[in-house]
């Protein structure tokens, strides 16, 4: 099997996983909207949690994976690591768009404002803009070695922001609530809500895997096209 066939197989498998995850997401929507109780003080707006928190978790995971793969690329110089880290970064940006739109929609009825320049929100916006810059940088550089090396350095530097963003709610005064799950104590949420939240995180994680396989295939197919174009010119 040649590179193109391998990439197309990965793309096909990724598309199937993405499709299944989107069906799962529809199931999570039904469970969250119809079978999960409404929280007494926040009302229906609290159910935005089942979209916002899973997307936030997986977006930070995607950026974390980008950082780790970037570090591995700088050590091993394997182009597949560069392709995977770039793919993970783009998915992180896409998920961050969901994160940064659902967050303010939830904040408005609960905090009385769409946005607050506090540590959690500002650092999340900064991470998003950093990775938009990462993607712009990759688009601007045509030489493969330079593009991979420069973006890997940026990916590693951004890695430090991921744990920082998680800890901002403990280190700074912020409107944003503390984590429900990722903390030393037991989850602070009734069982039925917790099951919905965990299902949503699982589905978004599977969606990330499907997206990653599809996006990786796109990068490999673009590479093949570039090589063919270069071969045609020489």
């Amino acid at each position: 099997m040649n590179r193109r066939e391998k990439a197309l197989t990965t793309a096909r498998r990724g598309t199937i996983i993405t499709g299944l995850a989107l069906i799962g997401l529809a199931g999570v929507y039904v469970r969250a909207l119809m079978f999960t109780p409404i929280e007494r003080f926040q009302g229906p707006a609290q159910k935005i949690l089942y979209v916002h928190a899973p997307v936030a978790t997986v977006a930070l995971l995607a950026f974390g994976i980008t950082g780790v793969l970037s570090l591995l690329y700088l050590i091993f110089k394997d182009p597949r690591l560069d392709h995977l880290s770039a793919s993970s970064a783009e998915i992180g940006v896409a998920l961050s768009v969901v994160l940064l739109t659902t967050g303010p929609i939830w904040a408005k009825p609960i905090w009385g404002t769409w946005w607050d320049w506090d540590a959690r929100l500002t650092s999340t916006l900064f991470l998003f803009l950093l990775f938009v810059g990462y993607l712009v940088l990759r688009g601007a550089l045509t030489d493969f070695g330079m593009r991979a090396r420069f973006s890997a350095v940026l990916g590693v530097l951004a890695l430090g922001l991921v744990p920082f963003i998680h800890m901002t709610v403990y280190w700074f005064r912020t409107l944003h609530p503390s984590p429900v799950l990722l903390k030393p104590e037991a989850p602070s949420m009734p069982g039925v809500m917790l099951v919905t939240l965990l299902s949503a995180i699982g589905v978004v994680a599977v969606l990330y895997v499907g997206f990653l396989m599809q996006r990786y295939a796109v990068t490999v197919l673009e590479d093949i096209r570039e090589e063919e174009a270069a071969g045609g010119l020489s």
Binding site: A11, I48, V97, V218
Partner: protein, 36 residues
């Protein structure tokens, strides 16, 4: 039980999330087809 009347925000957030995620999935399928 009386809840705050903010269901419209919930609906908006769910619709926007679905549109972005399905839109990105469609974009990836389009890019793969274009490169095939």
């Amino acid at each position: 039980m009386d809840y705050p009347d903010n269901g419209a925000y919930m609906v908006a957030a769910y619709i926007i999330a679905a549109v972005i995620l399905i839109g990105y999935a469609a974009l990836l399928v389009y890019r793969i087809r274009k490169l095939r």
